[in-house]
């Protein structure tokens, strides 16, 4: 049977992917959504479920929020993408509410100032919340997808993008229930697979399925990536609390003033400072004081939270490879060197809507050929290596060398270890079987995490300065010359090529 031909295939069923699919379908495209977990899952489902929307209080606007994003991003953000996202944020919130999510309001139904939060770096209160957090997003997104005409493939992991004549024309995916390869021809593909926080497990707060799939798929397909050195590490964020919360070291000293107004990068840098001074607790933690008159101090540790870079796209979500788009945490360019609290879900929805809209335009193109039956996924079987062992080694190497602090030596060490792990991947034992087999998905995810680690190491090595979430022990200060460029990664054969590009220079259509 010939493979189905879609106008748009969305890979990833979280906030960005689901909304991209719904948007493209509503625009008239024939859309498929491929998702490893049930739709609505991943990080979206276990998130705080808050998003920032400009213009809810007097004086605020999309322009002011854009300035806040650019300031927090320490000059690394693409201004065209920032403008696109901030001007789409309200539409995104309205879309989610049309799917049945109701952000918390006053008793009379007003979204007043009193129900908004203001986290560090925001100039105005603009964060809306929902009581049941990510679970509510999961409900709404599934309702929206169910009501749409999108063809949904759950328990399905994308393994490879198909490229002909330098254009992406399809996806090879693995149906985990049947153990069979699913071949989807497409006029456009949107990567919305989230970030890669699970690469740093257990020093991360991400779902187990957040393994950098989109970064690796894009890289293998010849697309460029940007800002892969910027990974947000979250220790604690003060702006969510009503009281004057504090962060203390082992001597009871406040490690930085006014915790509620600090950005996440500032807080994590403070953690690194206290670590260097030997002022962490015996558990290696700082102590969070809820300052509510009754709660004890809470130990807090830094954990990888969000990837701030990703596939290099323009403000339409288009990558450097025709036919390939990216949205959500998979797409780079918005956040730069650090991001504001509650901006990730705004990013997911706004870039999802935008990518969905522009990908749908490709439906007027001639249909690609159905994919050949001979196109396969190379997942090795009958090997001797357990992938869980390699995954643990990779995760430890990532946190130890690319986590809180980096150096030229640590980046190089990461590359050496990743190389040794990648060399063992062909020897993995992972046979697809009937019924459900997570082992095959794990083998693919190991590949994707290894590629992502390689990309992060190259980018972190290139940026010889400390900026935002990227902390270099051998270059502890900012370098203003580097403040004018992003580091762009591309594939040449098996090599990762790194070059500097002026900030925001995404000039393709």
């Amino acid at each position: 049977m010939p493979s189905p031909v879609y106008d748009v295939v969305c890979i990833g069923g979280g906030a960005a992917g689901a909304v991209a699919a719904v948007t493209a379908s509503a625009a008239g495209a024939r859309v498929a959504l491929v998702s490893k977990e049930p739709v609505g899952g991943g990080n979206t489902k276990i998130s705080r479920g808050a998003m920032c929307v400009p213009g809810l209080v007097a004086g605020d606007s999309a322009e002011v929020m854009a300035q806040d994003i650019v300031r927090c991003g320490e000059g690394m953000s693409n201004p065209k993408i920032v403008a696109q996202v901030t001007s789409t944020a309200a539409e995104a919130a309205a879309l989610l509410e049309s799917m049945g999510l109701v952000f918390d309001r006053e008793g009379d139904g007003e979204l007043s100032r009193a129900v908004l939060k203001q986290t560090g770096g925001h100039s105005f209160p603009r964060t809306v919340e929902v009581a049941t957090r990510g679970a509510a997003w999961n409900q709404a997104l599934r309702t929206g997808i169910a009501a749409s005409a999108v063809d949904v493939f759950e328990d399905t992991i994308a393994g490879k993008l198909v490229v002909h004549d330098k254009r992406v024309c399809g996806v090879l995916a693995l149906d985990l229930q049947r153990g069979e390869v699913l071949r989807l021809a497409a006029k456009a593909v949107i990567l919305a697979t989230g970030g890669a926080g699970f690469l740093f497990y257990p020093h991360a707060d991400n779902a187990t399925t957040v393994t950098g799939d989109g970064y690796a798929l894009a890289f293998e397909a010849g697309a460029e990536l940007v800002d892969m050195e910027f990974i947000q590490i979250l220790t604690i964020e003060g702006g969510w609390f009503k009281s004057r919360v504090r962060l203390l070291n082992r001597d009871g000293e406040e490690v930085l003033p006014n915790l509620g107004r600090q950005t996440r990068a500032q807080i994590t840098a403070a953690f690194a400072r206290e670590m260097a001074r030997g002022k962490l607790s015996d558990d290696g933690a700082l102590l969070f004081d809820p300052a509510d008159g009754k709660s004890p101090l809470v130990p807090v540790w830094p954990r990888v939270h969000t990837f701030l870079g990703g596939v290099r796209v323009n403000e339409k979500g288009r990558s450097t490879v025709p036919g390939l788009y990216a949205a959500g945490e998979t797409a780079g360019g918005l956040q730069g060197a650090d991001r504001l609290g509650s901006s990730a879900l705004t990013q997911a929805l706004a870039t999802g809507i935008t990518a969905g809209k522009w990908a749908a335009e490709e439906r007027h193109r001639p249909a690609p050929s159905p994919l050949e039956g001979s196109d396969g996924l190379d997942i090795s079987t009958n090997g001797t290596v357990r992938q869980t062992k390699l995954i643990h080694e990779l995760q430890a190497a990532a946190w130890g060398n690319l986590g809180l602090l980096r150096s030229s030596a640590s980046c190089q060490k990461a590359l050496d270890i990743v190389g040794r792990i990648q060399a063992q991947i062909p020897d993995i034992s992972a046979t697809p079987t009937r019924g459900y087999n997570a082992g095959v998905a794990e083998a693919l995810e190991l590949k994707f995490m290894a590629t992502t680690a390689r990309l992060v190491a190259h980018a972190a090595l290139a940026r010889a300065e400390t900026r935002g979430s990227h902390l270099r022990t051998d270059f502890p200060d900012r370098d203003e010359a580097l403040g004018r460029c992003n580091f762009v990664l591309s594939r040449q054969g098996d090599d990762v090529k790194v070059r500097a590009e002026p900030v925001g220079s995404t000039t393709w259509d």
């Binding site: 276990i46 309205a94 049945g100 309702t143 009501a147 187990t208 087999n437």
Partner: protein, 224 residues
């Protein structure tokens, strides 16, 4: 500390049967999910079970819902005790070991029309949401509740707790235009009267905020 022994009833798709396997894990292993993870890493790398949010404290993805000693529970929240019996959820159909077909849920929403999207309103709109709906939006689609229902059968005409929660989310949404009480009747909500067996492993108030209010409203509307 000594070892803990427990039994996993693993579904085999080739035979269509559950097979009981007894396992021993170190006594230091905490939750049932920790035990399953330990087994997968050290004893049987092909043991299949779902989980997603293991790295995050104080959150629930619902994917690890299984039957423990006869009742649906979240494996991550259930301390492992000697002699425990772990089995896949009774509904919908099992796929392999402890994994069931979660794809059933979205197909069911579509087949039964348990979805709708209203056109987006101007933002921000004034919206009053009943507190009950706010709680119902905490559902994680873990499908554990279906295994608590004595009446539900996969693919049948009776709605059951999961579907009545979805229906109530729509019914309690001011902007929804469907006749959800008629849908509740056609899904057999009357069969819930006096039952109250269902519950949610995550505390979503199925009976109090979905089933009883819809039953009451459907009756008030019915012709005498």
């Amino acid at each position: 500390m000594g070892l803990k022994t427990f039994t996993v009833h693993r579904f085999n798709p080739d035979t269509g049967e559950l097979g009981a396997v007894e396992y021993r894990v170190p006594g230091t292993v905490g939750s049932v999910l920790d035990a399953l993870t330990y087994l997968r890493q050290h004893v049987d790398g092909d043991l299949q079970f779902r989980c997603s949010c293991v790295a995050v404290r104080d959150t629930r993805c619902g994917l690890c819902a299984v039957i423990i000693n006869g009742k649906p529970r979240l494996a991550c929240r259930t301390p492992l005790r000697n002699g425990m019996e772990v089995a896949p959820l009774r509904q919908p159909g099992p796929l392999r070991d402890l994994v069931v077909d979660h794809g059933y849920a979205l197909r069911r929403l579509r087949d039964l029309g348990l979805c709708a999207s209203a056109p987006p309103q101007a933002w921000p709109a004034r919206v009053v949401q009943p507190p009950g709906r706010r709680q119902l939006m905490g559902c994680t689609d873990c499908l554990g509740c279906i295994s608590t229902c004595p009446t539900y059968s996969t693919g049948g005409s009776f709605g059951g707790p999961y579907e009545f929660v979805k229906l109530a989310q729509l019914w309690l949404n001011d902007r929804d235009t469907g006749d959800r009480l008629a849908q509740a009747n056609s899904l057999g909500i009357e069969r819930c009267d006096g039952c109250r067996a269902c519950y949610c492993v995550s505390g979503v108030p199925i009976v109090k905020q979905a089933i009883l209010p819809m039953l009451k409203a459907a009756r008030e509307r019915a012709p005498v």
